[in-house]
Point group: C2
Chain length 365, copies 2
């Protein structure tokens, strides 16, 4: 890369939380990565600095016009002490697709990946090694020009922060109740649903709150046009096993192109299990449920990896799947994918990227 990454180490290090206290996205490591963009200079000044608050003008565009994109991936500590990343190049490719949609300047994917690797190496003592734990990595870009004109920002910050996390669900893999949303819409074709940008998540909070009040963990989003085709579940992609075939909504412009989604499809194909990416209506699901061919359902995403669906609440119906228990395919996919991610299972796909971990000594964290 053109500009070397400057590194300023923290004078003191924070106390690390206990593994059973981690939760998700509550603790941050000792350092973070920052790189600035100015229209006249491009991306510049890549640096690793102590984790610290950032200072922004109150008129910064990110606060007012939401010009921001992000990514999420995980680093795992293997049993032999090495560090594995899962398909990180896919995250930066997608970050640039999101950038394109949000009128944010292109980021050099190699520089971003190098920054990520160096940051994780600096903070590698923060990668938990207990079962079901990992280091969650959050790259993001915010628009920080102070201007209230509605136009793309002239200035940006690209940052990476790291958070040691436990299993998304305390039980590891855990079937959830899902409310099929018929009032709120997450995204529509022509909008930003296929970009990983803040506004999509803000738009979903209300539905999630109302679903929680009805005893459900997440919502199943239907399309915004016909209000009948399945799109995503919460902030995950969604799969259904129908009569031996695994069906997931096709990428249609309003669905996020999930990296776990893509990996699950590749994994299923490698097992010679038929997979269909196509339009899937809620009506078809209800019918399959009633004729006994809806065998399993699960969400896929970086945070939970596989999230089995135990129950679907649709209008006045409650569709109980596999008696509310985790199905065998969900479990096998979870175990295989997390096995590959953590180095327990060999990776025949070349998905994992190993980082050097010279300073690591098991049990010293």
């Amino acid at each position: 890369m053109n500009q070397p990454i400057a590194i300023e180490l923290a004078a003191t290090k924070k106390t690390k939380p206990q593994a059973d206290q981690l939760g998700f996205g509550k603790y941050y490591t000792d350092h973070m990565f920052i790189m600035d963009y100015e229209a006249s200079k491009g991306w510049h000044s890549p640096r690793i600095v102590p984790y610290q608050p950032i200072t922004l003008d109150p008129a910064s565009k990110v606060f007012h016009y939401g010009q921001t994109v992000f990514e999420g991936l995980k680093a795992y500590r293997t049993d032999n002490g090495s560090i594995l990343l899962f398909r990180p190049e896919e995250n930066f490719k997608r970050l640039n697709r999101s950038n394109e949609r949000l009128s944010i300047p292109h980021l050099d994917e190699e520089i971003a990946l190098e920054a990520l690797k160096q940051l994780i190496t600096v903070d590698q003592d923060w990668i938990p090694d207990e079962d079901k734990t990992s280091l969650y990595v959050r790259p993001f870009i915010i628009a920080n020009e102070s201007s209230l004109g509605v136009a793309p920002s002239q200035n940006y910050m690209f940052m990476i922060i790291l958070s040691p996390v436990g299993s998304y669900y305390a039980e590891g893999i855990h079937p959830v109740k899902i409310f099929v949303e018929s009032e709120y819409v997450r995204a529509v074709k022509g909008g930003v649903g296929n970009a990983k940008t803040a506004g999509n998540y803000a738009a979903g909070l209300k539905a999630q709150e109302e679903a929680a009040a009805k005893g459900c963990t997440q919502v199943l989003w239907l399309d915004g046009v016909e209000r009948k085709y399945v799109e995503e579940v919460g902030s995950m992609n969604v799969f259904f096993s129908i009569n031996g075939t695994i069906v997931t909504p096709a990428l249609n412009g309003s669905i996020l192109d999930g990296i776990t989604r893509k990996s699950i499809i590749e994994l299923l194909k490698s097992w010679n299990i038929p997979v269909e990416e196509r339009k899937l209506s809620i009506g078809e699901l209800v019918e399959a449920y009633h004729n006994g061919t809806l065998e399993e359902a699960f969400g896929t995403g970086t945070a939970a990896v596989i999230s089995p669906i135990g129950e679907l609440h649709y209008l006045d119906e409650q569709l109980l799947l596999r008696g509310g228990e985790t199905g065998p395919l969900s479990r096998k996919l979870y175990e295989t994918l997390t096995g590959i991610q953590t180095g327990v299972i060999a990776d025949p796909f070349g998905w994992t990227v190993e980082l050097p971990s010279a300073q690591y000594t098991a049990g010293t964290k």
Copy 2:
């Protein structure tokens, strides 16, 4: 209100820009208002402080999940030196409707209005008094809990910043070329299009850039479902004069409930001009254009007040309205509304709110 507003005055005051250099949203006054929210304490610590950068944790939810809402209104200096606000209570009512949609806690509208009045009073020397100038007021709320879980924030900041602005267009009222957007969609029913939240603006930047590349200033948004009904123009509401009747899209859940829109409808009704709030298709507009009944078109919003549409680009057609000139109704509405806003014309509607301006001396700014 329960808690008095603490005031910390700036030790030094900034040099004020020349009236002809103002532009829109480029300069900020000497002070700003802040109030914090914590789940356990509610909104607390209202204060006016010197305008300054704010410090946020990089994991603050506003950066990642876009939980933020805002408002925009203007304060005007009248010829006799008083300060007028235009329907500010409507802004805070709408802010709370936006809050409701974005799962942000309710804000006491009286406290917010009192904060706004005190802040403007403190910075009243910043209200420009030249023709076509005003003080733009930007209240906004950001989620500042540092947590990467996708859930409503436990902490928020409500802020008000002030920016002296010139006319949105240098010429005052100026017909613009509009590109009828058929690829991108701003919002859809069930989404957040009727809330004033950052994500809506982020979603529109790309279309605006592409329209600009085609020589157009803004886009005319069509609905996201049938892709044929007119919704908004840029970030303004839109009106058409068709055969003597003024037609504007009905509020349908994806259109912002504009305060200028509402005022224009009330003004037209007071003039006994027929107004219809209804579905309006692009096909109907093209047909009206060709049969000679499409008389005028204009956008309405706080920033430009009235923005006449001189030309519509739709597919391969260019619909030239009134030879690209400002129509008489657009001009009359602009002059009447800005006249009321600036105190030049009597306000029979009770829309304006006058602030005390004891320290003001004309020409001392």
